[in-house]
């Protein structure tokens, strides 16, 4: 099995606030991320697809198609957006790295038809990321 990883970057703003919590609770749990005016990050998304190279083309998948898929599903949806207000898939969820990664997995997984989505890793900053992967793949 070969894995192939494509990386994209997008910028977005967000705020952590749970309407079920009191203002004090929100500040205590979410700290600076609860700032009412929001804040933003440069996100980096790594998408890893696994499969066997096609004997005709030598490729697991056409990277151009993956690039177009990521443009359509991720960039247009999230780049230069406010994640709390402009991304319907995140409605009602706190837009943490964990939740965004899970939404991205659910968007991308059914649309990858050459090979199989193996792992996505979403960096909020170089020192913080969330990763989604298939159970049992144990990936490092």
């Amino acid at each position: 099995m070969i894995t192939i990883t494509r990386k994209i970057e997008f910028s977005a703003s967000h705020r952590y606030d749970n309407p079920a919590f009191s203002p004090e609770e929100n500040r205590r749990v979410f700290g600076k991320c609860n700032n009412p005016h929001g804040h933003g990050h440069n996100y980096t998304l790594e998408v890893t697809v696994a499969g066997e190279p096609d004997p005709q083309t030598g490729m697991v998948l056409d990277l151009k198609e993956l690039k177009e898929l990521l443009e359509r599903e991720v960039m247009r949806r999230m780049d230069h957006r406010h994640l709390n207000f402009e991304v319907p898939e995140l409605a009602g969820k706190i837009p943490t790295c964990e939740n965004i990664a899970q939404v991205l997995w659910e968007l991308l997984e059914p649309k990858i038809t050459q090979g199989r989505l193996h792992k996505i890793r979403l960096y909020e900053s170089p020192d913080l990321y969330a990763e989604c992967r298939r159970n049992g793949t144990g990936g490092a």
């Binding site: 749970n18 943490t96 939740n99 990763e131 490092a140």
Partner: protein, 143 residues
């Protein structure tokens, strides 16, 4: 279906920390000559140092109320207290009891960091990865 992902996916949180420390690679089980041969420049009696990067991976259910596997502030405080306070700006051989008789290679640093972080209660520790330099990294998952 788990709250974390459903459809058989696992969600992992990765966090990187930075610390600077000095060490000397020297084994009491080897002769002076063997130590020089095995460890080369790292056997310099005066020690040397690195800017280490410690990457911690934890997994668990995503709490629907917070959207988090574990509150980052709690993880940061735990790793800070258990690892960074005793490793950062220290001489690992002289100031960390675990390395009195154990050579502070990055392999052994990984094992020590893993043992110290394993007790973090809010999520399951999957692995630690330590970069000794931008060109060398080591991982340990407790197995």
């Amino acid at each position: 279906m788990s709250a974390a992902g459903g459809a058989g996916i696992e969600i992992v949180l990765g966090r990187r920390y930075h610390f600077a420390a000095s060490h000397r690679l020297h084994s009491a089980k080897l002769s002076a000559e063997e130590n020089r041969r095995v460890y080369g420049k790292c056997n310099n009696p005066h020690g040397h140092g690195h800017n280490y990067v410690l990457e911690v991976q934890v997994s668990g259910e995503v709490d629907a109320a917070t959207g988090m596997i574990a509150n980052l502030a709690d993880l940061d405080a735990f790793v800070g207290r258990e690892v960074l306070e005793s490793f950062d700006h220290r001489n690992l051989n002289e100031e960390v009891a675990a390395f009195r008789d154990v050579v502070p290679t990055t392999e052994n640093l990984c094992k020590e960091a893993y043992a110290r972080i394993k007790g973090f209660g809010a999520a399951r520790l999957l692995r630690v990865r330590i970069e000794e330099t931008g060109n060398n990294s080591f991982e340990y998952d407790g197995k």
